[in-house]
């Protein structure tokens, strides 16, 4: 029930933003639509609603994760631009295997998305049971599982563990 209620509020806020500036007709229709959406899919998206209640998680998300993510994203773009504009095309691609200690779905999703948008790496597959990610790396520095884990996963894993676990 809690997850349905939080889903209702998320859907309602997104609806209000899409209908900016909201008047009462939009709000009434939005209430019906959000209730319908929350009733149909509420327990699919938010499986652990108690996570939403901790302020410290939001603090870590906005203060630690978001600036780090944006900075890495910017570096990734410069990296790709350099590789593409270089006349000899300096790439050494390959698919490596890394381990992760995260277990929940949301944390794994955010980890895979962060890895995809950071310099030179892109997640290809996740094996949730063994905690293994397969990463396509455009500039393979090491084939070893442990050292690849240290380079790619560690900086995000620490923050994401505090936010989502």
């Amino acid at each position: 029930m809690k997850s349905r209620i939080s889903m209702f509020f998320v859907a309602f806020i997104v609806w209000c933003l899409f209908n900016w500036v909201p008047d009462w007709q939009h709000l009434v229709i939005g209430g019906f639509v959000s209730a319908f959406v929350a009733f149909m899919v509420g327990d699919l998206f938010i499986t652990r609603p108690h996570v939403l209640m901790h302020p410290s998680r939001y603090w870590y998300f906005f203060v630690y994760y978001l600036p780090m993510f944006l900075w890495e994203c910017f570096k990734a773009n410069l990296d790709v631009a350099y590789r593409v504009l270089h006349p000899r095309l300096p790439i050494y691609p390959g698919i490596v295997k890394v381990r992760t200690k995260l277990t929940t779905d949301t944390a794994l999703t955010f980890l895979a998305n962060s890895i995809t948008l950071t310099p030179g790496t892109m997640s290809v597959d996740i094996d949730k049971d063994n905690g293994v990610l397969y990463i396509h790396w455009i500039d393979v520095k090491t084939k070893d599982v442990e050292s690849a884990t240290r380079i790619i996963v560690d900086r995000f894993e620490k923050v994401l563990k505090k936010i989502f676990d």
Binding site: L17, F18, N77, V84, I95, L117, M122, V124, K143
Partner: protein
């Protein structure tokens, strides 16, 4: 003033989009091309949308462009992941200059175990 900053953001975004498209043409195989496409096009398009938001302000179009940024950052990596996984499962080979392919090794082991 705010118009000029917005226009600067839009030009940066356009430049990164061009780099992304260049990468799409120049890089050798599906996976490297996906890398260029996801990274450059995500930040490039986000930058264009943010420039639009700065120019039009908190109007209907501005709020929508902010929402589009969030959805783009959330969905572009998922699409790239799905395409890469599908391509690998369908048997698309890596570029011949590739160094290592742990995924194929592990999958072969899995297949052999299943046959036993």
């Amino acid at each position: 003033m705010i118009n000029i900053i917005g226009l600067i953001f839009i030009s940066i975004g356009l430049a990164f989009d061009v780099f992304g498209c260049l990468g799409l043409v120049r890089l050798p195989d599906v996976y490297c091309r996906l890398q260029a496409a996801t990274k450059c096009v995500t930040l490039g398009t986000c930058s264009i949308l943010f420039g639009t938001f700065l120019i039009v302000g908190f109007t209907a179009a501005g709020i929508k462009s902010l929402l589009c940024m969030i959805f783009l950052v959330l969905t572009a990596p998922v699409a790239a992941h799905a395409i890469a996984r599908g391509a690998h499962r369908a048997g698309v080979k890596l570029w011949e200059g590739s160094i290592v392919d742990k995924y194929a090794e592990d999958k072969e082991g899995e297949a052999q175990n299943r046959i036993k």
